[in-house]
């Protein structure tokens, strides 16, 4: 956490606010590294034998494990502390954001605003297009995902950017700093995958879905400086923040407030469509529509890349991952455990030859994984038939 980059749009924590964030980080590191693994031991040494004694077999799925594990005091202890640490995380980030709220809005306006010099630089700058009439999908409006009060989408005042500032520092703490100085681990991972498996690709038009604060989008804009890069999200405050942040980092990105299920871009308009940890925060029907929309947007020969968090290979791993679904308002993620992403992509119109689900080991050191000690990323890839790309 020490090397997190303090840029102009982040509030500067005061002494006690900093101490609170630091402790939340230490607590979560301890829970993840020292307490969480005990759940796997508890399962192997106590719950699995008890289950076998009663049923004469191993638990068939994570639901059967759930019934037994949630009655165990050790699991209860971890679960209660994990939930509290998540609420403390947001509380510790919200305090300084609230204190510097007006200042942050002001800074975002001036970073994003058209200054006198901007006209000459217009071609070097990105843009922001908001849509006040857009309906926030139910899967975001119904519950605040991973407990961030107000979620990605709530404006508490005019030109609000608070949700962006809160998310930026929040995910840094969530992963114990593993996302890097600019929260760019996910973008870098997907870019590393592209460079390794599709080294000759030089996309000219790139679209990043569910971009939030543009932390991953910036990686693509920097990697392909000649490309026209777009980022969309349903949340207005995160997009205002994303735009100001990208401008201050010198990345040219065009942000727009749109639902990835149905965008206003033309057919065949992108060489590369990406998303980073977005799919598990949608819904079953939305997932299908988003994949179909990706196919519509891709040029012949274009590439679709979705980076996702795998939901475990064994029932106990799945049960641990799904803690987030039952306790952290990641409502859809437990359905993701059972979904075959390649089958969904085929259902959305891709052919079997076009799609693949790949496992990709992170190039960076992921120290704090919260629910598992073994970590790989899942990447849903589809190369649309045709020449180009």
């Amino acid at each position: 956490m020490k090397d997190f980059k303090q840029h102009a749009l982040l509030p500067t924590p005061q002494h006690d606010e900093q101490a609170r964030q630091d402790f939340v980080g230490a607590l979560r590191g301890h829970l993840s590294g020292r307490v969480m693994p005990g759940n796997y031991q508890l399962f192997e040494r106590r719950v699995a034998p008890l289950f076998a004694a009663e049923h004469g077999r191993a638990p068939a799925d994570e639901q059967e494990i759930r019934e037994w594990m949630t009655r165990e005091p050790y699991y209860q202890f971890w679960s209660a502390l994990q939930r509290r640490s998540q609420e403390l995380l947001w509380e510790s980030v919200i305090d300084p954001t609230e204190r510097e709220w007006s200042k942050l809005i002001h800074r975002a306006r001036s970073k994003a605003g058209a200054k006198a010099s901007a006209r000459t630089n217009a071609r070097k700058r990105g843009s922001l297009r908001l849509d006040a009439a857009l309906t926030v999908p139910r899967y975001h409006a119904a519950a605040d995902i991973h407990l961030q009060p107000g979620g990605y989408h709530t404006d508490f005042t005019a030109d609000d950017v608070a949700a962006g500032a809160i998310y930026d520092k929040g995910i840094n703490l969530y992963m114990g700093g593993a996302l890097g100085a600019e929260n760019d681990l996910m973008g870098n991972t997907l870019l590393a995958y592209l460079r390794e498996r599709h080294p000759s690709r030089q996309p000219k038009r790139i679209l990043d879905l569910g971009c939030a604060i543009g932390n991953s989008t910036v990686v693509w804009a920097k990697a392909f400086p000649k490309a026209e890069v777009h980022g969309i999200d349903v949340g207005a405050p995160v997009l205002r923040y994303a735009h100001a942040r990208a401008e201050s980092l010198g990345a040219r990105i065009h942000f727009s407030q749109q639902n990835a299920e149905r965008t206003d871009f033309c057919d065949h308009s992108f060489d590369l469509v990406t998303s980073h940890i977005m799919l598990h925060e949608t819904s079953k029907s939305a997932l299908l529509r988003i994949l179909a929309e990706c196919r519509r947007l891709l040029k012949p020969g274009g590439l679709m890349l979705h980076l996702e968090i795998p939901r475990g290979r064994t029932p106990i791993e799945q049960f641990m991952h799904n803690w987030e679904s039952y306790n952290n308002n990641e409502t859809f993620s437990r359905y993701m455990t059972r979904i075959d992403l390649t089958a969904e992509a085929r259902g959305a119109g891709f052919t079997a030859e076009e799609v693949a689900l790949e496992e990709f080991v992170p190039t960076m050191d992921v120290t704090q994984m919260n629910y598992t000690e073994r970590f790989v990323w899942n990447i849903l890839v589809a190369a649309k038939h045709g020449v180009g790309g």
Partner: protein, 107 residues
């Protein structure tokens, strides 16, 4: 510059899980973690102060022990204690919000 008037909601919208059979146990666990957090904050602050005092002023611990707060200082301390109580009792407000006054999410 607009001055934001509406604070964000104190609690996230959505399901609040109950881990233990008695909700009082959940609240005690939560209070225990929050207390630990505030203790960590206090330790950091004391550490900062003592280092600065020694570095900049060469002040001794005896002087700290002999210190008596005046009215202004006392008022600040009361505000700090109230803030601690507010943080520490959050689990009980969450319980009230969830089970008794659902929907009135403002502080």
């Amino acid at each position: 510059m607009t001055d934001p008037t509406q604070p964000p909601p104190e609690f996230p919208k959505g399901h609040r899980p109950q881990v233990f059979s008695d909700p009082a146990i959940d609240q005690l666990y939560d209070g225990y973690v929050i207390l630990g957090t505030e203790l960590a904050v206090a330790f950091d602050r004391i550490d900062t102060l003592e280092r600065l005092l020694q570095e900049r002023l060469g002040m001794s611990r005896a002087e700290i022990d002999a210190y008596k707060p005046n009215e202004v200082v006392e008022a600040e301390r009361q505000a700090r204690r109230a803030d601690l109580a507010q943080r520490l009792l959050r689990p009980f407000r969450e319980f009230r919000d969830d089970r008794i006054t659902r929907g009135s999410r403002r502080r």
